[in-house]
Amino acid sequence: MSEVMISVEGLGKEYHLGGNKGLDLRGGLKRNTKALLGRSQGSFWALKDVSFNVERGDALGIIGRNGAGKSTLLKLLSRITMPTTGRFSINGRVSSLLEVGTGFHPELSGRENIFLNGTILGMRRAEVKQKLDEIVEFSGVERFLENPVKHYSSGQKVRLAFAVAAHLEPEVLIIDEVLAVGDLEFQRKCLGKMKDVTSNGRTILFVSHNMSAINSLCKRCMLLSDGMVEAEGDTRTIINRYVHFNDDAPTGLREFSEKTPTRDGAASLRSMRWVDLSGNTISRSKVTDALGLEITYEVHKAGVRPQPVIFLHNSEGDLVFTSFAGLDAPLGQGLGTHCTILRFPPDLFNEDTYYVSIWLTTWLPHTVHQVQENVMNIQIMDDLNSSTRSPSHYVIKGALRPRFTWDIIPV
């Protein structure tokens, strides 16, 4: 017996470029007159012609690189935004969890926030009341229940938020990358809870960068690429295809125009790109592969000796490290274009997306020529069969995952 719970047909979402966000009055008028004149400011399709079905009790994993349209798809199915083309229907009560703790208010107590978050996620007040004890127990913050949430640690907040989410009883559950938060034990508790959900005949749609979480939860998987369905099928097949998939889109390249502002005009960035060992541009890499960041910049003024300073942040926003060649490195001497590659060894990064900020700096006298925050990112993936992965852990925590030597000392 199979009943289609989610049916999606030709779903597409078009975004207009050029000031769709935060329009001001002038922008709005300009746009309207442009629309009247039939001139478009350009648009792009975040999602294009996506069709699939999910049956009752199934869990469908959705994977793809950053910008492939995963989040857009979930936003459409959650009805947060409307599709430009196509249609879908969902047969039953839906809860979507694109974030844990949506609507949490720091001034309110834990108890009040449980009610707030619960009703935001679609529960009735009576339902929350009925499950309150269970939720509180699952969260493990009983003692602080009457304290304002602003006094909670971030871990406690996440636990409380997840406890609420875990007690939703929807027929269809839509989840975006929420397992990245919380400690290991708690994550396993949550994955366990989600497995219960599917075994109870409920349906799950799950987006994650974490291949092992997808693998443990979903039998079927869909790979999105540039807003379109690239492949769909058995999870292991799709994941392997994704991890070993040749990168063709050069999103790992970032070029700077002459107009990119500098602080003093003495030196400016030309381009940056992620490269593999053979020098090909990449936008993602495996934990076990070496990679490099190639930076090309130009010196416009004689006498300055700029060199790039790289700041690398992980997806949680923590600064993982700062790297530069150093005072005595013979970088960037003389007018004209310079190029340097920052090389990273294999087994350094963890499974995550890392974000690069760059400062073009001369050390003596200390001058910053150009600052570009968050200019590009790289997605580091893990092979399912990687030997650095412990089989029982879904996530290996840590900003980095270096491979150290473990010597055996005979005793």
Partner: protein, 276 residues
Amino acid sequence: MSMRIEVDAKRWKPIPDLRELLAHRDLFLTLAYRDIRVRYAQTFLGFAWALVQPMATLLIMILVFDRAVKVDTAGLPYSLFAITGISAWAYFAYVLKESGNSIIGAQEMVRKIYFPRIIIPLSKATVGLVDLSVALLVMAALFVYHQVVPGPNALLAIPYLLGIMLASVSTGIWISALTIRFRDLQHVVPFLIQFGLFVTPVAYPAQLVSKALPQWAQVLYFLNPMAGLIEGYRWSLLGVGDPGGLCLLSYAATLFLAITSLLYFRSVERFIADLV
């Protein structure tokens, strides 16, 4: 609870879905409760703030319009005359101010979860009822203090008050929807409230305007929904003024605002998450 969700890019209903709104009433109540709690949490005076505002406004109006300008209130104590206007106007101003920023303020939620977006301005309007109730208590106290008995039409104050709420909520919905597209409106709203106080019979009787202005200006004056509503509200309680005539324009304007606000909000609702 079994439901079926269908979304089609080609089919879209311009009429707001009341059933869906009703299904989200718990969320509406919770959000309103949150805003009330948060509004007075950790302030030194707490709920007393709801009392301070109308009292301060009343005081300044007594000084300016009663003592200095000596406005003619047909023999009624000025404080009683003014508090009827103030209670209504303060609510209108509060709803406008809060609605303007409401959706941008809730953008985190709007981007992460679905619910009928109109709940946001509606819950803000509900929070304003706390202040309105306090202002009405001040009014009641002034009735007792001046030993004035409300006129024979006092019960009509209820529909007038409902009309004032409708006008406030509708304007609020309009502004909240417009602010999504045009952030500039955030700066216009305080100006609108300040300006509105002068062209609404809050501190002075509407007759003052009718006597001094040409016909066309009077029509403009009463196209302001609050003008006729406050005049009628005061008439029902104190028996001064004339709730007919040009005031009918205000009632029509209120209805017009109410209907168009719902339709306009509905039309931008689909894109709120893309715009904020």
